[in-house]
């Protein structure tokens, strides 16, 4: 079981690692400039354009490489923004007195019910269509989900016997939080943030597909898909290539999230002879599925 999990982690790291490597290389070198249209429109794959060109004559490989950088920036940026806001709000609600908890929870419910697409359009209307706007919209939408999860995790841990036990021995409240509450919510939170990273990459692609993301000359996989749509029958590479990379990155990130679950939680590691009792591990599975990773913004 454990071996299968660590294999999951390894495969995930390889898949995501390929995309990260491509993105890093794109910072220093791309085959052509992103706005170089000298290759002629819809050139077929072959030297000097390894994957051909798009309908404006731009090199497809160059666009893909820059797209990798944009996808990773969007994903990591959104998770950083959504994670910080979400965890902070969740901790606040989780530890707060009743009325403050109720207020924050009501706000979160409203934010969660608010369509992410509408939120993105509002952000773009207020600012401009840019990578920053996309990150802001995705991060805000994500923060409500992360906050709700964090709040539930805090509440659940606070109700545990070991918190009461620690307090009966005179451990001060800040110390209980630092030593027992935070370490116990962290593994689930980490796994959820990793899942959110995959979702954020997809969300950025969707927004760019709709023209609400990164503007030219910087390429985004979502916009490449949209631009290639009209010529998908005559030049399929333009649509297939960004689609494949998107899948590779998201699957890689999700596999990492799955593998992290074991690394972060010692009760799931089969270390030595005694496996975790069933009740405990199934409660944890329930907790992880309650993490609500299925919501695509």
């Amino acid at each position: 079981m454990s071996r299968r999990r660590s294999a999951t982690l390894a495969v995930g790291c390889v898949l995501a690692g390929v995309i990260v490597a491509v993105a890093v290389v794109s910072l220093f070198w791309t085959p052509f400039a992103p706005d170089d249209t000298s290759g002629g429109r819809l050139a077929p794959p072959g030297p000097p354009h390894l994957l051909g060109t798009d309908k404006l004559g731009r090199d497809l490989l160059t666009q893909l490489m820059i797209g990798a950088r944009v996808a990773l920036t969007a994903g990591l940026g959104s998770v950083a923004l959504g994670g910080v806001i979400g965890v902070a709000a969740g901790l606040l609600a989780g530890f707060a007195v009743r009325w403050l908890d109720d207020t924050v929870s009501a706000l979160l419910d409203i934010l969660i019910a608010f369509p992410t697409l509408l939120l993105a359009m509002l952000v773009v209307a207020a600012r401009e269509a840019s990578l920053g706007s996309a990150i802001l919209a995705i991060g805000l939408a994500m923060s409500s989900i992360v906050a709700r999860l964090t709040r539930v995790l805090v509440k659940r841990v606070l109700a545990q016997d070991y918190i009461t036990a620690s307090r009966t021995s005179g451990t001060s409240w800040p110390r209980v939080v630092a030593e027992h509450v935070l370490p116990n919510i962290w593994p689930t939170l980490l796994v959820n943030l990793a899942l959110q990273l995959g979702l954020a990459v997809l969300a950025e692609a969707s927004l760019s597909y709709l023209g609400l993301g990164t503007p030219p000359p910087n390429a985004s996989w979502g916009r490449m898909l949209q631009e290639a749509q009209a010529t998908v029958l005559t030049a399929p590479a333009g649509a297939i290539a960004p689609g494949v990379l998107l899948v590779v990155l998201v699957v890689g990130v999700n596999l990492i999230a799955d593998g992290l679950r074991d690394v972060a939680d010692p009760t799931r590691r089969a270390r030595g002879s005694r496996p975790a009792p069933n009740a405990e591990s199934s409660a944890r599975d329930a907790e992880n599925s309650a993490a609500d990773p299925g919501r695509v913004p």
Binding site: T267, P277, E280
Partner: protein, 268 residues
């Protein structure tokens, strides 16, 4: 002068229902008292009320006075959190029923045991590590337990670790809330004997909470019987067994007798 003096303690649920009504008892320094009752009778709630750790929404009224040597005499009911936290651990601490949930699943046993040792004795570094191993040896746990997570050791070992953690606080009063109920019968006897010995050796007072008359009889001779939040009977265990006055106590005694006679028949 009593170490713990509970008088007319009433605990109400958020909806106003009385979960404990007018319960009174005393524990002298170094003395032992058994608190017997079925589940839901308010035994554990009594323990939490003494620690000032009632679940949110529950309110206590009446009086709980803790007067441990070296600590100020304190009225627990209505005391501010800061005062209470100064008492917890040193005046009294609790060993809970289910050691699997009473230990942090993500922290190694040694680290959890180090927490009270560091606080009560001000130990650091290698001295702290030595004290952790000594505390484990005292409850007859091998050194390797220090590096194990709670789920990696057996139920009996977990409860020994929990007892070591409670003793590390050096409390004047140890509250044992059904400490052996979650354990196998054979392990139960070992853990009970161990706790009995350690509490005597340190001259600690013991408030022993259980639903099991036979278990209580092994560690204490004075009992309070709780039934639906009321203290229906209290006094010397032998007197109560010989002459139970309340119907519930009679049930307890006769069911214990039935088991005994069944065992006698089986032995024959």
């Amino acid at each position: 002068m009593s170490l713990l003096e509970v008088s007319a303690l009433t605990v109400k649920a958020p909806d106003g229902r009385a979960l404990l009504s007018e319960v009174s008892f005393e524990v002298e320094p170094g003395a032992r008292l058994g608190l017997i009752g079925e589940s839901g009778s308010g035994k554990s709630l009594t323990a939490l009320a003494i620690m000032g750790l009632l679940p949110a929404g529950m309110t206590a009224s009446g009086s709980i006075v803790l007067d441990a040597p070296g600590l100020p005499r304190t009225q627990v009911v209505g005391a501010p959190e800061r005062t209470l936290n100064g008492l917890r651990g040193r005046a009294a601490t609790v060993v809970f029923q289910e050691p699997l949930t009473a230990l942090d699943p993500l922290a190694k046993v040694g680290r959890q045991l180090a927490e009270p040792l560091r606080r009560t004795r001000g130990l650091r570094g290698s001295a702290l590590r030595a004290a952790v191993l000594a505390a484990l040896a005292e409850v007859r746990l091998p050194e390797r337990v220090a590096g194990a997570y709670p789920h990696e050791i057996s139920g009996g070992q977990r409860q020994r670790a929990a007892i070591a953690m409670a003793l590390a606080c050096e409390p004047a009063l140890l509250i044992a809330d059904e400490p052996t109920t979650a354990l196998d019968v054979t392990v139960q006897a070992e853990v009970l004997a161990l706790m009995d010995g350690l509490v005597s050796a340190r001259g600690m007072a013991l408030l022993f909470i259980s639903h099991d008359l036979a278990v209580v009889a092994r560690v204490t001779d004075r009992v309070v019987v709780l039934k639906e939040g009321l203290a229906v009977e209290s006094g010397n265990l032998l007197d109560i067994v010989a002459e139970p006055r309340h119907p519930y106590t009679r049930d307890l005694v006769s069911s214990a007798r039935r088991l005994d006679s069944a065992l006698d028949l089986g032995a024959r």
